[in-house]
Subunit: 243 residues, 2 copies
């Protein structure tokens, strides 16, 4: 019975993506702190679309071509030549509505392009801010799912793993799960779910420390809260659009 | 203060090993079901040494050269051309004392050779059966540690992650740990430690199912029990020796 359900796998690092068959699958790009949180927020607040790019020069170039807002950080500061940062709080409706956001995201964009190069798949992005929209879509599609954690320079991180666990935990009955990474992620999420911020703090999550050092506690707390920007970003024509 | 302690990292798949600096480190090769469990058992029961090799032909060749016992499985059966399997129970003292065991282990041997190729490191092997010996050695050495999970064809697995978590949990105060994989593994272990077999069963661990299908419940239970063969296998001159 369960064998007839579509499969669900969790890929905890881009360096493991080659192990999974992305063909005909929905690949969820997960970069909780903070790229996919900011993408959800910008689209929720009415952005026309979000164009993810991997380098600052490409961001500047497309910002001009598309008359878009250029955004991205390096080491916690707005990258030289760009106008805005990676924080969801920078993109309220009054600012972002009907505009195009060109966003540099090293880890997330890399994973997205890897998935597209690896096979014919559909790409969406996920974060706690749009948890329900992601889950509802995956169940409705009924296709194989790969939860793809963007990680940090290929190193597995806690918040992306936690989000993969949150999704898998919510939709597990609709899928066939023969994947230890998924079960590990679900166990982690179930330990953390009552207070994810405290869990990240208590367990010395590397990005908790990195962002706290930049004074970004408010960003972390926001990005770990479910459904505050509950839209579904889907990737088409080199940009993410609200479904 | 904690910055002066040696670092400890957990590498959850051989495909991630390149992210870690193995130079001057002790690399613990972990393949709980069942290669490193069998290695600990054979040495505990008096084997002269264990020679890990990656292919069946190489195993046969070295078995002749070294007058050794050839062992290895493929799909749960003794591989064609070899004499014994991967079960710790096949190597009691009456059989293995003073003999050389030539063991094919796909995942563990691959990881071992990758680590050696990547830098000047010391290699030991670990499993629940020799948990205390591994922990005591790592603390005594005071060198950087990489807990290297052999995984399954590069896919992260639960039992190797659990063992990494058990080691890290026991020795964490002696090391500086800035590694989310390690914290994930420790969380998992702390959830599982009261009954690791039940945890593996409840969470659908892939190797639990694979080995149960081969009728190997006794092997699984044995391999998840701490300190039943508490020796330290160290790799020197292409073999593992009891320290």
């Amino acid at each position: 019975m369960s064998k007839n359900r579509p499969t669900l796998f969790t890929c905890l690092s881009p360096a493991l993506l080659h192990l999974y068959d992305v063909n005909n699958a929905v690949v969820v790009i997960i970069d909780v702190l903070r790229a996919t949180s900011t993408i959800a927020t910008a689209l929720y607040n009415g952005a026309k679309c979000v164009v993810p790019v991997d380098t600052v020069p490409r961001c500047i170039e497309l910002g001009i071509t598309l008359d878009g807002i250029t955004a991205g950080e390096r080491d916690g500061k707005v990258a030289e030549g760009l106008s805005y940062g990676n924080s969801p709080f920078e993109y309220p409706e009054t600012f972002i509505a009907n505009r195009t956001l060109v966003l540099t995201t090293t880890n997330g964009t890399k994973l997205l392009h890897m998935a597209l190069a690896q096979g014919k798949c559909e790409i969406i992005t996920g974060a706690f801010l749009n948890l329900s929209a992601v889950c509802d879509y995956l169940v409705a599609q009924g296709k194989p799912v790969i939860l793809g954690c963007a990680a940090w320079k290929d190193r597995i991180n806690m918040e992306d793993t936690l989000f993969a666990g949150a999704v898998a935990d919510r939709i597990q009955e609709h899928f066939h799960i023969n994947c230890d990474s998924t079960h590990i992620a679900m166990t982690l999420y179930n330990q953390a779910k009552n207070d994810i911020f405290e869990f990240m703090k208590k367990n010395d999550a590397s990005h908790y420390h990195r962002l706290m050092n930049y004074g970004l506690e408010k960003d972390i707390r926001h990005c770990l809260t479910p459904d505050l920007a509950d839209v579904l970003p889907v990737y088409r024509d080199e940009a993410l659009w609200r479904l």
